[in-house]
């Protein structure tokens, strides 16, 4: 069966050029970049080249890039590292309610060390309003963390505006750009942020290759104490192959981002339009405009997300869902609830995210296969039966 993979937000395939760049470092170029001999030094050069590639993707300098193991690690290092280093200035954090759990739970961990945090609500489209952030700022706020885009509902956040008003009050700003990197243009100067997280597995790099931008001169408390790797800001022998793969993927992303995004946006709109024509009682989550180019998310009423996900998988289509049933802890996605959706609606969550090789044919197949799946599940749904009873057609 032909597989149609539409779960970019979970993982992207490794780009062949990134793989080719990585292979020598899994074979003959095994040296430790901290070693002073030839084997080490040639590997160090490769790591530093990758640092430059990642820096160019976001308009930073190489010295401002710290390599990490994942987007979650980058977020943890930013939130905990910046807050703890800035403790003398205050112990208050401001976060949006739809941040990734690696940001929210990092802030929660900091509560054990005397920090407190304010969650800024979002509107029905998932947008964090700058004035809401401003209202949440306190005299002792040290850090604001607002993501650049949300992978579950696709919303792009006004981070530049938020950073501007925070800068006026000397509050540091971190943005989680994991969902955005590779899809949106990134320029840390234009954004005006002090820290930015990204992960290569969201733009055809390898898992295990991620980075944190920390603006020059910003104090950071390391979360992995060790040697002098990453200028003493993150201990541990470098995951060289992943770093090299991340660098290559960043270079490709910089060259092809605009073309990839334009193509994805066209197919995304084809999907959204197709669904609104063919499926009743469907809600687009997040905004129609101003969303990630490769992401289309919906809540389908009267059916549950995991049942849709499994049914689509049986048809060869891979997607994800924020429903309670499809999560390990059986909790509805905090993002969907933050948008003001009720539990029953949030249960119908289904998220499509497109790859660079997704075709119009793939999208047309999804538009053809999905409606009968929904119809079958609705025939089984007591909620739909109750709805039809109250609203006879």
């Amino acid at each position: 069966m032909r597989r149609i993979y539409l779960d970019h937000i979970a993982a992207t395939p490794l780009h062949p050029e990134a793989l080719a760049a990585m292979l020598p470092f899994l074979k003959e170029r095994f040296g430790n970049p901290q070693s002073l001999h030839g084997e080490g030094q040639s590997v160090l050069e490769a790591v530093e080249e990758a640092r430059g590639q990642v820096a160019r993707l976001i308009g930073a300098t190489a010295a401002e890039i710290i390599f990490t193991s994942s987007g979650s690690e980058s977020n943890n290092l930013a939130v905990k590292g910046l807050a703890l280093a800035g403790r003398a200035r205050g112990t208050h954090l401001v976060l949006s309610a739809i941040e990734h759990l690696s940001v929210l739970n990092a802030a929660k961990s900091l509560e054990k060390f005397g920090f407190r945090s304010t969650l800024v609500p979002v509107d029905g489209a998932g947008t964090v309003r700058p004035e809401s952030v401003e209202r949440a700022l306190a005299k002792d706020t040290v850090l604001v963390s607002v993501m650049l885009a949300n992978s579950e509902v696709g919303t792009i956040e006004p981070v530049a505006e938020i950073a501007k008003l925070c800068r006026a009050k000397s509050v540091l700003v971190h943005t989680d750009a994991v969902a955005a990197a590779g899809s949106l243009p990134l320029d840390v100067q234009a954004l005006g942020v002090d820290a930015l997280s990204l992960a290569g597995d969201q733009f055809y790099g390898p898992k295990g290759g991620a980075a944190l931008f920390i603006k020059k001169g910003t104090r950071l408390l390391p979360q992995i104490d060790g040697g002098i790797q990453e200028s003493g800001r993150r201990g541990g022998t470098e995951n060289v192959a992943a770093i090299v793969g991340l660098g290559k993927a960043a270079e490709i992303a910089l060259a092809r981002r605009a073309e990839r995004a334009a193509k994805a946006a066209e197919l995304r709109d084809r999907l959204i339009d197709g669904f609104s024509r063919k499926i009743g009682h469907v809600l687009l989550t997040g905004p129609r405009a101003g969303r990630l180019p490769h992401q289309a998310s919906f809540c389908i009423q009267f059916v549950e997300g995991e049942a849709m996900l499994l049914s689509l998988d049986m048809k060869g289509i891979a997607v994800s869902s924020g429903s309670a049933c499809s999560s390990k802890a059986l909790k509805a996605s905090h993002v969907l609830l933050a948008l003001g959706l009720d539990h029953a609606t949030a249960q119908g969550s289904v998220v499509f995210s497109l790859l660079e090789d997704t075709t119009a044919e793939d999208i047309d197949d999804v538009i053809e296969f999905f409606p009968p799946i929904i119809e079958r599940l609705r025939k089984m749904s007591p909620l739909y039966t109750a709805y039809l009873k109250e609203n006879p057609q």
């Binding site: 549950e304 802890a329 039966t385």
Partner: protein
């Protein structure tokens, strides 16, 4: 794969889906907050279940469980059907993921509710005898001790306790008495609103 082949078969080809407009008994369990809702319809002939239909809003496990229960109970006497437990259903399905045992494995409960409804309608006096049925008492005992999400042990006082695995605090629901997520506005077991 998180589900057994048997679960996937019952999910893909569920048996006895539908409603019975002239049902002798109807039973409903669950609510959308915890994820799954099941409605069972039964017809009774000579004290046996002659027809069973179900509708389920929920995940793959919830649909498979519902389908399996209808197959296990069809043609059985009411007494025999009341002896079917959620655990037996999960066993018949070749097991269920641990976190799905309490939320989605409610098929036997829904069937029992339908039988109770039938008994109540046909002989109101029989109601008390049913509520003392051993299967039901067993289930309630189980749920009182475990986290409704991961089935792990709960720590803390009797009225307020927590699951360290899920990092969730629980309180007893004033309506149904089962443990419910303290952070939720409605009981995860019965859907009743919880006053803060």
């Amino acid at each position: 794969m998180i589900y057994s082949d048997k679960v996937m078969d019952h999910f893909a080809n569920p048996r006895n889906v539908g409603t019975l407009p002239d049902a002798d008994g109807v039973g409903q369990v669950g609510n959308p907050v915890c994820g799954d809702m099941m409605t069972f319809y039964i017809k009774v002939k000579d004290d046996r279940l002659s027809e069973i239909k179900f509708q389920t809003f929920g995940c793959g496990a919830a649909i498979a469980v519902s389908s399996m229960v209808t197959g296990m109970a069809l043609g059985k006497t009411l007494e025999e059907a009341m002896a079917i437990t959620n655990e037996k259903v999960a066993e018949e399905l070749g097991g269920l993921p641990k976190n799905k045992m309490h939320c989605s494995n409610l098929g036997a409960d829904a069937l029992h509710e339908a039988i109770k409804d039938y008994r109540h309608k046909s002989a109101p006096g029989a109601r008390d005898a049913v509520s003392a049925a051993p299967a039901q008492a067993h289930d309630e005992h189980d749920e009182a001790c475990c986290c409704p999400y991961c089935e792990g042990p709960l720590e803390g006082m009797e009225e307020v306790c927590s699951c360290s695995h899920c990092d969730i605090d629980f309180i007893e629901c004033p309506a149904c008495g089962k443990y419910t997520n303290k952070a939720e506005a409605a009981c995860v077991a019965c859907g009743a609103k919880i006053a803060k």
